[in-house]
């Protein structure tokens, strides 16, 4: 309500007075022209200067004004839209105004109209209108000057700026000031969140990142960034609506924000002495309200929404609907739909593992800074975030937030912003000039079990990546509307004398009237409060007074309502863009990567990320200008590029500590190790897209490393998930196994298993039974007693686990990374295998990297032990000392001493028996290569120079064998006496290898 001076009230409380409109035209900040209605010249000894508050020299106001159009201000009580106010002043064409228009550029100059009498000082006149002159219309003997209220400042300008992590009131003020509105015409108190009238909504937060500046909205659902095809003022109105409020221009030209609050006190009580005309208008009934949360601001030519509706909450009063049912019907629905265009901010769940469908849980949120309760001010240096928040901006029992997670609504009254995780995003003003804005990257909200499945939703399971939409404002709006209108809101129109011209739209009033009649009401008493939704001041030849339209606001004992809720399931609101966005979120096409630039440098503790492009999935986002952040000394910092909103994210940990978990949109750029005053930088950029799943793991062909993603360099789903093609066997990813970034043995990443007996394994890949495979890894165990296992799980063709064999099963690996490789033979019925990494049951953590699973060739090298070779006969040489036997296909058993071919193929064998180890040499004796007991090759011999001493050799060259062929070395003695072959591990041998 306007505060009117005592002098004004005294003047207008008289039985008779001579009211005039005083019209001032300001083309500068001083020295206005003044005119008045009526028949008198009014001389003011001094005047109030509305620009600087000073008292200026007096002025004379001649009665050159013939007429001033009625002033009308009107608000839509449901949608809270405010009509623009305009004014037409008709001047007598007496020369003064003609000269003035001729000599001054009057368009966009200030026109001020106030109400008073010639007996009042100018300062005591009641404000009626202040606006900007838009046009003038000369007519015969008259000149009309038309002015609009100050909404012209932002009304015709589309908004190009952004706002991040702001209270809606802060956002409105920013938009208006960005649009050129002088701060002096913005009512400061209405945007001061410390005012008690904002109790209950101080924790609201709104964010908007416009695509006109940042890039295409097409792949950028998180920005809510459809181009604003709205004027700045409409944007402000949309924001105001989320608080059940309105922005409008008051009689004094100030931009006001007024919030509907039925609990507010009435500003005036009217009796029959105050009211002249009373008219009952149609009552307003809304017993079903549909609030659409959407960032949609356009349609594709196909008709699909440019951006999806995030959700729709439908609140009904079933009692009212039953009461209003027509005969023969069960319900009478009076529905209203309201679009919340700018509050569909989406965060997402970042919990490792599933959130169960029941019970309390900590909701870990990624990119929470558009949600209620996250508002922070200032620059994040040492933290904590709490120091950057006001007490009332936090969540509490009196300031709760309602989040829609998938299709479940939860209530949150406590939230903690994660320290040392900061995104520095760019916030743009109306001219597109950016400033840095520090934002929290992660938050943890505490959700009690009793606060789940609220508002008609059902508690359900959620997974990492589930969307989180803030429905707090929508819920409040719907509740308020239903409570007010579901039983029929009386609407009336009254006329009062001019003394009540200080009552404004949005004010609550009470009155007494015995005419009003509706169901349950016979007359109106002071127990019923009304909101002023329309105000009209008339002072002309036929009327003088104030016309008010009043709409029911509440009463001391309101009728009971029974609310029920319906929610659109999220799939219903999806459009093309939602699908594309989902694809980008899930990185269907490509992993996060650097496309170009984004190099990181430092100077002191200032870390600069150069401009460039980073991609999240298939969406490429630019960092249009280099950005510098200051990091804390003596910590490790991980610098990422947020491909969702082109911000620079820094996450800090203690020096040497494990890397933190990164957000799914983060393109990792560098690790910055900060000392006390300087930094060292490790470049972690990964250039070029990695396109996972182009080849199924099960289709990998032998020949190379069969282990998929063996060096753990591919994380298309980000560090919140296991590396591509790996999955947990025991334990939970993120807790029992994490991405090892601080010290991989090769590349950028490895695997760290911090807990005992936890393991992860590759997806299955194809192997051949009985094949020999070389399996190994580079491993480290933090404690000497910790066993590190790297093994192979063998599967049948139908996927049944056959056995697990370990290539590494070793402790004492605590001094440094160690390389181990071991040949393993696939079981005879194996078709698939997977590599498993397993920590032993001992304390400590294991590091794993550079896994190898390559096909190996069977081979052996055996030497002999002493044996007697029969005279004049063939004797199988007892090669029974294995130097190696890859695949274990050589049988050293006496009398066997054979190699059994594991596969069809080409083999090569060599053997040697030196004469110096053999008694009773003979020139006709020889070695022969036996295949399945048949001679396929006779060896050569050479005279050693010692009498009757020969060395015997076999060099087979390529020999074609079939699986299970048996190869042995036979000595044919031509001597008539037995010979003794002395064993030697260095002189006699039998070797073989499969070469193809």
């Amino acid at each position: 309500m306007l505060t009117l001076s005592d002098e004004f009230e005294a003047e207008f409380k008289k039985a008779g007075c001579e009211p005039v409109f005083l019209v001032s035209v300001w083309t500068d900040t001083s020295g206005p022209l003044m005119f008045c209605t009526g028949s008198k010249i009014i001389t003011f000894p001094d005047i109030y200067n509305m620009f600087d508050g000073s008292t200026d020299p007096g002025m004379v106001a001649p009665p050159s004004v013939a007429q001033v159009t009625p002033f009308v201000q009107e608000i839509d009580p449901i949608h809270r839209n405010m009509q623009r106010t305009s004014c037409t002043v008709t001047f007598v064409d007496d020369g003064a105004i003609r000269d003035f228009i001729k000599n001054n550029r009057v368009k966009n100059q200030s026109l001020v109209v106030s109400l008073g009498t010639a007996n009042l000082a100018q300062q005591d006149f009641a404000p009626v209108f202040r606006g900007l002159i838009k046009k003038w219309v000369p007519r015969e003997g008259q000149i009309d000057i038309l002015a609009d209220d100050h909404s012209d400042y932002p009304f015709d300008r589309k908004y190009f700026g952004t706002w991040l992590n702001k209270h809606p009131l802060e956002a409105i003020k920013k938009i208006l000031e960005d649009s050129g509105m002088p701060s002096g015409v913005i009512e400061a108190n209405d945007f001061d969140l410390t005012q008690s009238e904002f109790d209950g909504i101080e924790h609201y937060v709104n964010s908007y990142q416009g695509s006109r500046i940042h890039g295409s909205p097409y792949f950028n659902p998180r920005r809510l960034d459809a181009p604003l095809e709205l004027s700045s003022f409409i944007v402000c109105a949309e924001l105001a609506k989320t608080m059940v409020g309105s922005v409008w221009f008051a009689e004094d030209g100030k931009l006001r924000f007024t919030r509907f609050d039925s609990s507010a006190s009435e500003v005036v009580h009217w009796t029959a002495d105050d009211i002249k005309e009373f008219e009952q208008l149609d009552e307003l009934v809304v017993n079903q309200i549909e609030v659409n949360l959407s960032s949609a601001r356009g349609m594709l030519s196909s008709g699909e929404q440019l951006l999806p509706t995030e959700s729709t909450i439908v609140v009904k009063d079933t009692t009212s609907q039953t009461a209003y049912a027509a005969p023969g019907e069960t319900v009478g629905v009076f529905a209203e739909a309201v679009d919340f265009e700018l509050i569909a901010y989406r965060s997402s769940v970042f919990n490792y593992g599933d959130i169960a469908a029941s019970g309390a849980f900590d909701l870990q949120l990624w990119r929470p800074w558009g949600l209620c309760g996250t508002r922070v001010l200032g620059t994040y240096t040492a933290g904590p975030w709490e120091a950057m928040q006001t007490a009332t901006s936090n969540l509490s029992a009196s300031n709760p937030a309602y989040y829609l997670i998938d299709d479940e609504v939860v209530k949150c009254i406590s939230m903690d912003l994660e320290e040392y995780a900061v995104e520095t995003a760019l916030e743009f003003d109306g001219d597109g000039d950016p400033t840095d804005k520090d934002l929290p990257v992660f938050a943890t909200a505490t959700i009690a079990s009793t606060n789940r499945g609220l508002l008609g939703s059902t508690a359900s399971t959620h997974t990492q990546g589930s969307k989180v939409v803030d429905v707090t404002a929508a819920y409040d709006f719907a509740e308020t509307t239903i409570r007010r209108f579901s039983n029929g809101a009386p609407t009336i129109q009254v006329t009062t004398s001019l003394i009540h011209c200080g009552v404004q739209v949005g004010d609550l009033v009470t009155l007494e009237n015995d005419v009003y009649l509706s169901f349950g009401r016979d007359g109106i008493t002071s127990a019923v409060k009304f909101e002023v939704t329309k105000k009209e001041i008339r002072l002309d030849d036929s009327q003088a007074g104030c016309h008010f339209t009043l709409v029911y606001a509440g009463e001391s004992s309101p009728p009971a309502i029974v609310k029920t809720y319906d929610w659109w399931r999220r799939e219903l609101g999806k459009g093309l863009l939602a699908d594309l966005a989902e694809a980008a979120d899930r990185q269907v096409n490509a992993s996060n990567h650097v496309n170009s630039g984004l190099g990181v440098t430092s100077s002191g503790l200032d870390v600069t990320v150069e401009s460039g492009f980073g991609a999240r999935g298939s969406r490429l986002s630019p960092l249009l200008q280099s950005q510098t952040v200051t990091v804390r000394p003596s910590m490790d910092h991980y610098i990422s590029f947020s491909a969702s909103d082109s911000g620079v994210v820094r996450q800090s940990v203690a020096t040497g500590a494990d890397a933190p978990a990164f957000g799914p949109d983060c393109v990792l750029l560098a690790k910055v190790v900060a000392g006390s005053s300087s930094c060292s930088i490790r470049d972690l950029r990964n250039f070029g897209a990695i396109r996972p799943r182009n080849t199924s793991a099960t289709d990998f062909e032998q020949g190379g490393n069969l282990c998929p993603n063996p060096d753990f360099e591919t994380w298309s789903l980000g560090p919140g998930n296991p590396p591509d093609h790996w999955e947990m066997v025991t334990g939970t990813w993120g807790t029992d196994a994490i991405r090892g970034e601080t010290d991989p043995s090769s590349g950028l990443y490895g695997i760290k298993i911090p807990n005992a007996s936890k393991s992860l394994a590759t997806q299955k890949f194809r192997v051949e039974a009985d094949r020999v495979y070389h399996v190994g890894a580079t491993v480290f165990g933090s404690a000497s007693g910790l066993y590190i296992y790297v093994g192979v799980r063998w599967y049948t063709g139908t996927g049944s686990l056959l056995s697990t064999t370990y290539a590494i099963s070793e402790s004492g690996l605590h001094t440094a990374f160690a390389r181990r490789d071991t040949p393993l033979v696939a079981p005879s019925n194996a078709s698939y295998a997977s590599v498993i990494l397993l920590n032993g049951a001992q304390a400590g953590f294991g590091l794993y990297d550079a896994v190898r699973f390559v096909r190996a060739q069977p081979s052996f090298f055996v030497t002999n032990t002493t044996q007697t070779l029969g005279k004049s006969t063939d004797t199988l040489i007892d090669f029974d000392v294995e130097a190696h036997d890859t695949g274990g296909f050589f049988n050293t058993t006496l009398g066997q001493n054979k190699f059994v071919a594991p596969f069809d193929g080409i083999y090569e064998f060599k053997a040697q028996v030196l004469g110096s180890n053999l008694t009773n040499n003979h020139a006709d004796s020889y070695l022969w290569l036996s295949k399945n007991s048949s001679e396929i090759l006779r060896g050569s011999k050479s005279y050693t120079g010692t009498s009757s001493e020969y060395d015997y050799h076999i060099d087979s060259g390529p020999v074609k064998l079939e699986k299970d062929d048996i190869i042995q070395i036979i000595y044919n003695s031509a001597h008539t006496s037995n010979s003794v072959l002395t064993g030697s591990t260095t002189q006699n041998f039998f070797s073989g290898v499969q070469i193809q």
Binding site: E18, G95, S497
Partner: protein
Amino acid sequence: MSSGAISTAELDYATNNKPMLVGSNALESASVEKWLIVDTLSGSADKTLTNHPISRARDRFNHLQTKPDTTSASTWYLSFDLTADVADFDCLFIGGHNFGTVGGLTVSLEIGTDATFGSVTELYTTTPGSSNKRIFTADLADTSGTSVPLRHSGERYVRLKMTKGSDFTPAIGELWLGRRRQLPYKFNIAAQEKRTRSEVVRFESRSGVSTTYTLSQGKAMRSGSIEMDDATCIADVTEWWKECGYGTKPFLWIENPTASPSDVHVMTCAPELFFDLTGPSSRSLDLSMSEVAPYLTSES
């Protein structure tokens, strides 16, 4: 450039308080007009305050003032070059002025022989004292010579001189050098000098409490008929009708030229002249006039 006598009949009518109509203002032909603190009109800097042009002094509205800027001066001239086509004038009207507010002024009407005003003749002088009331005189004689009222023709250089013992800033709503059109009689409806009208809107609450909002008050209204058979008077009425644009422009109504010369009303009437023959040589002037604000009743 000449001055001539006004007929005895006209003077007699005036002496007997028969009303005058003034439809012309010689200042309307001005080609040069300036607020000055020096004599010379041509070439001297005009001191007119921005947005307060001198044209306001001859716009037939009392409520808009012309005034000079903040130059310090104890003597101000509002000087005109009325060109060779200047109309005759024989009376002076000054309305909407601040002479009383300033106080202690001597106000004179002078005519000059050329634009230097090196040689001037004072036609009228007055000392308003503390009164802001309208000033009217039908006696524009040479104050240094004859005291017989004269009618002036072809007087191209005219100025209003305002002087005081100290610096001041004058303001004038209307300055009128008129040619009187003397009526021989008053209206046939006698004693209308008290007739006024106010515009009000009443707000009466449901309980009967009434508030009266006044839109305007004290507007003078005059109507009636005047029958005349004097050919000169009939011709004067016809001329007056031309001079006020056939009823389209405000004109002066001096109800009692001798008894209360300052009670000058700025009037308008319907733009249709009813001046029909009522006898062989007599005509009846039917006139209904209403006052233009600000009203005389509001001035003190």
